[in-house]
């Protein structure tokens, strides 16, 4: 009996020891979301140290792909599904279904029989419009993508560079899907005439609009609503034609030594506790939580979102980015 007890103790000790490690998490979630989200994980697993590498979607994607031969990350948390599809195609993901994986809506997870990624929320294009500046210029609130190309908004629009920003990419991808490639690029050409600058991150256009440096920032819903809460004169507009959107999803990185802590982390990241926190920032989450839609979002958010072909977006991402860079990145200043 004593022996069994000792053995049990030993096992308990070992397993406790095994979980006292650390996980390296690559994420593109917002800087102001992470501390709020991670709180409940820290409470439940005080012995696991979580280290973050946080950057814009494009950067995290490029970093993961660049480390293909010697992956550093254990877990990807909250990265664009389009990017994760690309990473999956590179054979860098290990399929793992977390505890609450079955609860996740079918449209929110990898379609494969053994899914490699699970979505936690959907985020969508929103225009951050500075109402004070617009009022000073006596201009109406833009309501659609089409409005943004009107000559009266010349030099007032800022948007994220799709090569580095996930928000930038989902917007460009939505425009190309809504209008078709030919008309889509023609629209972007016209939009370019009104753009004052392309930014590195998807949140910067909104923050620039918040300070009046830009009047209209093409960004995403959460950001604009957040800036308004801070007291900035920002109105968030969801375009009439429908918003481009993408999922933020989690996945396990395939590497020689997969840590048990990584799976613990992924289990937590799909748990109801975590999901409820995501629901404070986003209108749609991986599975319904019963939380109300955050103020400022359309009442039925799924109607605002376009019919998004992720397969197409993932397959064409490289090509779209190359074309975009050729057309707009090399131009010196936009003509005044």
């Amino acid at each position: 009996m004593k022996r069994i007890l000792m053995a049990l103790c030993l096992v308990a000790l070992c397993s406790a020891h095994a979980l006292a490690g650390e996980v390296l998490v690559y994420t593109a979630l917002e800087d102001d979301q992470i501390p709020r989200y991670i709180k409940s994980f820290k409470e439940k697993h005080p012995d696991i140290t979580v280290k973050f590498v946080r950057d814009s979607t494009g950067i995290v994607t490029a970093k993961l792909l660049a480390e293909k031969t010697n992956p550093q990350a254990d877990v990807v948390w909250g990265l664009s599904a389009v990017s994760l599809m690309q990473i999956e195609q590179a054979g860098m993901l290990e399929p793992y279904t977390p505890k609450d994986g079955a609860k996740v809506l079918p449209s929110f997870k990898d379609a494969a029989a053994d899914p490699a990624w699970f979505g936690i929320d959907a985020w969508m294009t929103g225009f951050c419009v500075n109402t004070v500046e617009l009022g000073n210029k006596k201009l109406p609130l833009p309501a659609s993508y089409a409005d943004l190309t009107k000559p009266e908004y010349k030099g007032m629009v800022t948007m994220p560079n799709p090569a580095s920003s996930g928000t930038g990419f989902l917007t460009v991808s939505a425009i190309l899907q809504l209008l078709g490639e030919e008309k889509g690029w023609a629209y972007l050409d016209k939009l370019h005439e009104n753009i004052s600058s392309y930014t590195h991150s998807g949140s910067k256009p909104c923050k620039l609009a918040g300070t009046g440096e830009a009047v209209i920032g093409i960004s995403f819903g959460y950001r604009g609503l957040q800036q308004k809460k801070k007291g900035e004169p920002i109105e968030t507009v969801f375009p009439k034609e429908g918003s481009g959107w993408d999922l933020e999803a989690n996945a396990l990185v395939k590497k020689a030594e997969i840590k048990p802590e990584a799976k613990v982390f992924l289990d937590w990241a799909l748990s109801l506790d975590a999901m409820k926190e995501y629901a404070q920032s986003f209108a749609l989450t991986g599975y319904p939580t019963g939380e109300p839609v955050p103020a400022g979002f359309p009442a039925d958010p799924s109607k605002q979102m376009i019919k998004n072909d992720f397969e197409w977006a993932a397959k064409n991402r490289d090509h779209i980015l190359a074309e975009w860079t050729k057309r707009y990145d090399g131009k010196s200043e936009p003509k005044k």
Binding site: K51, S197, K204, K207
Partner: protein
């Protein structure tokens, strides 16, 4: 009195110890060369090698360069870089010249204040120049809006102007502020070294003042002027902080490297752009070296120091000029401070310390600041030790000419290396688990330090090496070589002389080197942005990251903290220097 028999063993003892001492010196000198080869030559060779391969490591010759020059999106950056560098230099060197002239050749009041203020921009990361310009000249800037409509409301006229900041205007303005102090430093050293007799002769011959300026003053400082031009060109050509913030869609080489490497993880193209960036810089460096060699001593034993000009109109003009520049700098720094304290620019101008909390924000906040301070301290200590000791070995050794010349050239070479290129080269050199050499795979002995504090310190040491090395060499030159000769003949080992005489006498220079390393390590972004790891966030990188995320006010706040740390450090170094000189420099005063 010793007999002949007594002295004989003594002499052999001396020559023996000399023999071993010579060997020790040679070994140390060799070590100095070896350190420069490992820290400078090999990483640079690596980056050149990578620019000749594709992303999979296959040799492609000049294909990357061909891609670069045939892609208009990329190659316009080269012209853009050259354009802003030339424009900046054309403005900043003349301004610096007049300023330096006022400080050295006229007897205007407040010289110490003017000099101190002119140096202030060196304390901040170049990103701050861009950020502050946004607050002054951006769409909601103080100047653009006429101080938020204050002028038009109160004074009844509207002085607001929109200079169209984003793009080349913004870059050139930032770079002028960035290069001004450095050009001013070089020019004031050049202007100080002159011989009053030349001016007396010119006056006696009846030359007009304008003629004297062009025939005496300018030729006298032509080497300094060329140096200032080269340094200013190199600095703006390689800076990345300012274009990143205010460049808009105006691409330059330095931001291209960043975009290629950080944005697209395209290392081969990053290396290629680095080599393109390196070529003009190395050319400017070689030109400067070549010309400096021809410089003959202006000051000879018979020289008479020039009395500063006291003509009232000259004084007034120069005083006004210096005041104007200083006022500009004060407004500039004041705006940065103001912007970091304003709650919601420009809609809620109440002041708060909100942006100094760095909550819910990338970059690392106060951890980053304390890491930066630690890194700068380590860089100051390690850098000063290595720099001063190798300068000593090179300057104060006899014989071993070729070894010393090699060491000297290698010590000057980092002057031509942009921080971004050093950083990128260090990724390639230190992150590779093995080196491929002539078909052999050699395990990389330095791989361990990748991602640690050590590589950051090493990178700073190399980045700021040359200027410190020059300072050390200048200080050492003022010490007579007799000290070495005497101690040698007395059988005192050189290291004793070094610690008892050389180092104490050169203390002011040593403290100055330490300060230079500290201040620059605090402010640098370019070299460390590729090398810092998630565990060791840095303050200057945090400024870049917060700006990327659009958190501009906290980015300004972090820059203000960096400037404050540097001001404190400068005062501490000044205090230490004053205390130490009191004890070690009394020899230089006459006994009364």
């Amino acid at each position: 009195m010793p007999t002949r028999a007594d002295t004989a063993p003594l002499r052999t003892a001396v020559s023996e110890s000399l023999f071993s001492e010579r060997r020790l010196r040679a070994a140390l000198l060799l070590l100095a060369v070896l350190w420069l080869v490992c820290a400078v030559v090999l990483p640079m060779a690596q980056i050149a090698g990578i620019s000749l391969r594709n992303d999979h490591g296959v040799w492609v010759g000049l294909a990357n360069f061909k891609t670069y020059f045939t892609n208009p999106a990329l190659s316009t950056s080269l012209w853009n870089s050259l354009y802003v560098s030339a424009a900046t230099t054309l403005v900043s060197v003349p301004l610096a010249f007049v300023f330096a002239y006022a400080l050295t050749r006229t007897d205007i009041p407040l010289k110490g204040f003017f000099r101190g203020l002119a140096m202030a921009p060196l304390f901040a990361p170049t990103l701050l120049y861009g950020i502050t310009l946004v607050y002054l000249f951006g769409r909601k800037g103080l100047v653009t809006t006429g101080f938020f409509g204050f002028f038009s409301r109160v004074l009844g006229f509207d002085p607001s102007v929109d200079i169209g900041l984003y793009g080349k205007v913004g870059i050139i303005l930032s770079e002028i502020i960035f290069t001004f102090p450095q050009a001013m430093l070089i020019l004031s050293i050049a202007l100080r070294a002159t011989d009053a007799r030349l001016y007396e002769a010119a006056q006696a011959l009846g030359a007009s003042r304008i003629r004297t300026f062009f025939t005496v003053t300018l030729p006298g400082v032509k080497y300094g002027l060329l140096s200032a031009v080269c340094v200013s060109l190199i600095l703006c050509f390689t800076d990345f902080g300012a274009p990143k913030v205010v460049g808009g869609q105006f691409n330059v080489l330095a931001t291209d490297i960043y975009k290629q490497v950080i944005g697209q993880q395209n290392f081969a193209m990053g290396a290629t752009v680095s080599v393109v960036l390196l070529l003009p810089t190395v050319l400017a460096f070689l030109l400067d070296r070549l010309v400096q060699r021809r410089q003959a001593a202006l000051i000879v034993a018979k020289s008479v120091p020039l009395a500063p000009c006291a003509a009232p109109w000259t004084r007034l003009f120069h005083f006004c000029f210096c005041s104007l520049i200083s006022l500009g700098l004060l407004v500039f720094l004041g705006t940065a401070l103001f912007a970091s304290l304003v709650k919601v620019w420009p809609y809620d101008l109440s002041l708060s310390l909100l942006h100094f909390r760095f909550e819910n924000m990338g970059g690392g906040g106060y951890d980053a600041l304390s890491n930066s301070i630690r890194m700068s301290l380590y860089s100051a200590v390690a850098g000063t030790t290595v720099t001063f000791f190798s300068a000593y070995l090179i300057e104060k050794s006899r014989g071993m000419r070729s070894l010393r010349q090699t060491a000297y050239f290698l010590s000057m070479a980092p002057l031509a290396l942009p921080g971004l290129v050093i950083g990128l080269a260090y990724i390639f050199f230190f992150n590779a688990p093995t080196w491929q050499l002539a078909g052999f795979a050699i395990p990389n002995p330095f791989n361990r330090i990748y991602g640690t504090m050590a590589i950051l310190v090493l990178c700073n040491m190399v980045h700021f090496y040359s200027v410190c090395f020059l300072t050390a060499t200048t200080a050492l030159k003022q010490l007579d070589k007799e000290f070495e000769a005497v101690s040698e003949s007395m059988g005192v080992p050189f290291y004793k002389t070094f610690f008892r005489v050389t180092a104490p006498v050169c203390l002011p220079a040593i403290v100055e080197i330490g300060q230079f390393y500290f201040v620059n390590s605090m402010a640098t972004v370019s070299a460390v942005i590729f090398l810092y790891s998630a565990d060791i966030p840095l303050a200057s990188v945090a400024v870049a990251n917060m700006d990327d995320a659009g958190d501009i006010a906290p980015a300004a706040a972090m820059s203000v903290l960096i400037v404050l740390v540097n001001i404190v450090a400068r005062n501490v170094f000044g205090f230490v220097s004053a205390r130490l000189s009191h004890r070690s420099q009394s020899w230089s005063k006459r006994a009364s």
